[in-house]
């Protein structure tokens, strides 16, 4: 009986389709719950930075607050401005939300726990993260509002600039790994926690994290929606579910970049000390803990830092991060070659 079932799910296309669908749901549903609770954690962290309590009314410790917010957004009226381009106006939030979700297909949650273990995982992640800009720029244009358009232009320029340095960070990591497969990236970091790439590639880890802040439009790089000048940037004209999709997409992107950071620099599902009892804890839990750590730093920076001025942001991206990361690629390649540490698969 079990053999029959196994046969059905591995050979027939219907069985395979069911398995793939189940895998997608297993990733997406916990991800959406994580997104909901990330908004809660965000607000709690800012609250404690500002010596406030944060959400504490709905449910115990305010734990039902995300669902109350979601329900409120669902029940509101969807307003499409009469001068907006209606089709693109509604497609834009979908683009943002979808690009934030489809990237999860290649993230390895554990040894072999990955929906699609492709050879070019890093490139896939980079390609998908470069698509996020379309949701924003289309939203800004379709809204037919000057605030939205200015916000979209700022965001597009910013995301394109910081993607360049993220690209170089990815190149250094894959120089040290010798493979574009994300599972291989994690396996290359096995051992004690100082073997993970965050220590040997510390400057690149810092650049990656700051660029991740810029990619997700978070403080100190939240100029695209800086409320003091641009109302709410490209989201100005959005309400109800389209707004919620933007919101969810943004938080999903944050979690995605934290997951990328954990896979590339914090050893993915590896335990920090490679001996029992630490190795008894499942890799999935270590991975989630690492993501949570990076997400906490996301909230922390938002509660702490003021906003950059736009020319300073561009200067940081092009005149500081680009030369530093480019130089670090050369240095890493030279050290690997001269020290004889070139990974074997080359």
């Amino acid at each position: 009986m079990w053999a029959d079932l196994y046969h059905f799910f591995t050979t027939y296309w219907l069985g395979q389709a069911i398995v793939i669908l189940a895998e997608c749901l297993l990733v997406t549903v916990p991800l959406l719950v994580a997104v909901a609770y990330m908004t809660y954690v965000d607000r709690k962290v800012w609250a404690s930075i500002q010596l406030r309590r944060g959400p504490n009314v709905v449910g115990p410790f305010g734990l039902w607050q995300p669902f109350a917010d979601g329900l409120k957004l669902l029940l509101k009226e969807t307003i499409v401005p009469s001068s907006a381009n209606q089709v693109l106006f509604l497609i834009a939030p979908m683009i943002t939300f979808m690009t934030a979700l489809i990237a999860w297909a290649v993230i390895p949650f554990g040894d072999g726990l990955v929906i699609s273990d492709i050879n070019v995982g890093i490139l896939y992640l980079f390609a998908i993260s470069s698509l996020g800009v379309y949701g924003i720029i289309v939203a800004g244009w379709a809204s037919n509002s000057k605030y939205a358009f200015l916000g979209a232009l700022r965001s597009a320029a910013q995301m394109v600039s910081y993607e360049v340095s993220i690209g170089f960070v990815l190149i250094t990591v894959l120089l040290c790994v010798g493979s574009l497969n994300l599972t291989q990236v994690v396996i290359a970091q096995s051992g004690w926690f100082w073997n993970w790439f965050w220590l040997p590639l510390l400057p690149m880890f810092v650049i990656f994290f700051i660029s991740a802040l810029a990619e997700t439009n978070r403080t100190p790089f939240d100029l695209p929606m800086s409320e003091a000048e641009l109302v709410q940037g490209f989201q100005t004209e959005y309400s109800s579910m389209p707004f919620a999709l933007f919101f969810l997409g943004e938080y999903a992107n944050m979690i995605l970049l934290s997951a990328m950071g954990s896979v590339l620099f914090l050893g993915g599902w590896m335990s920090p000390i490679p001996y029992p009892p630490f190795t008894w804890i499942p890799g999935l839990i270590w991975f989630c803990l690492k993501i949570a750590l990076l997400l906490f730093v996301f909230s922390w920076t938002k509660g702490t830092l003021p906003r950059y001025r736009y020319d300073q942001l561009m200067r940081l991206g092009w005149k500081v991060f680009l030369p530093v990361s480019l130089g670090w690629v050369v240095i890493t390649a030279a050290v690997l070659q001269l020290g004889g540490w070139v990974p074997k698969s080359f």
Binding site: F126, A127, Y134, W141, A156, Q312
Partner: protein, 205 residues
């Protein structure tokens, strides 16, 4: 195999249709968005033949960078579409001629009429057997061993073009007050802040 054939025809149809829409659509922003759709489906076609590296690079370079700049420019410019349409019939023969020439070149290169098989054979020799290794490494091996010098020259040409573009657009405006970040960062504490003991009700003068 059937599924693959269906996928191929769907992707190919969408490439052709969206490429046509790039030319036909009235709104230039729609044109660029259809162009992006065409890039995407071309990448999907690459994936179908197993060229995953090319597919990803196509998305990263064309969709992630080039098309963003197109969209940027097209959204900022106030393009009068009806004036652009005026010369359509006048330029049609030239465009068609260029299209036919390019099409013939591709066909000859592919070895239709028995013309290009020799060259294809030569190219095939340079490529290592793709069966055993990933195509990222296959491309790397060909580019960095067989065609190393040509690859470097191509890089140099791009570098020169980039520097040229910067030099052409760089202009120094007099009388601009610039921010010198290093100077600001090196300013000592004594110049930046003063600690004042404020008496109650007295205020700071």
């Amino acid at each position: 195999m059937l599924l693959q054939a269906i996928a191929f025809y769907v992707f190919a149809f969408v490439v052709m249709a969206s490429a046509a829409m790039v030319v036909v659509s009235r709104n230039p922003v729609y044109s660029v968005l259809f162009l992006i759709l065409a890039f995407f489906n071309a990448a999907a076609l690459m994936l179908l033949i197993g060229a995953e590296f090319i597919a990803m690079i196509l998305i990263i370079v064309y969709v992630g960078a080039v098309a963003v700049l197109f969209l940027f420019v097209v959204m900022m410019l106030d393009i009068n579409v009806t004036r652009l349409r005026e010369g359509f019939l006048k330029y049609l023969p030239v465009g068609a001629l260029i299209g036919i020439v390019l099409f013939c070149e591709i066909m000859l290169g592919l070895g239709v009429f028995g013309s290009g098989t020799a060259t294809l054979g030569e190219l095939g020799k340079a490529a290592p057997q793709v069966v055993a290794i990933t195509n990222t490494r296959a491309i790397g091996q060909v580019l960095y061993t067989q065609y190393f010098y040509l690859f470097q020259v191509a890089g140099l040409v791009l570098l020169v073009a980039m520097i040229g573009a910067i030099v052409l657009t760089l202009r120094r405006r007099p009388g601009v007050r610039r921010q010198r970040i290093s100077e600001q960062l090196y300013r000592p504490k004594e110049q930046a802040i003063t600690v004042v003991k404020v008496p109650t009700g007295g205020g700071v003068s």
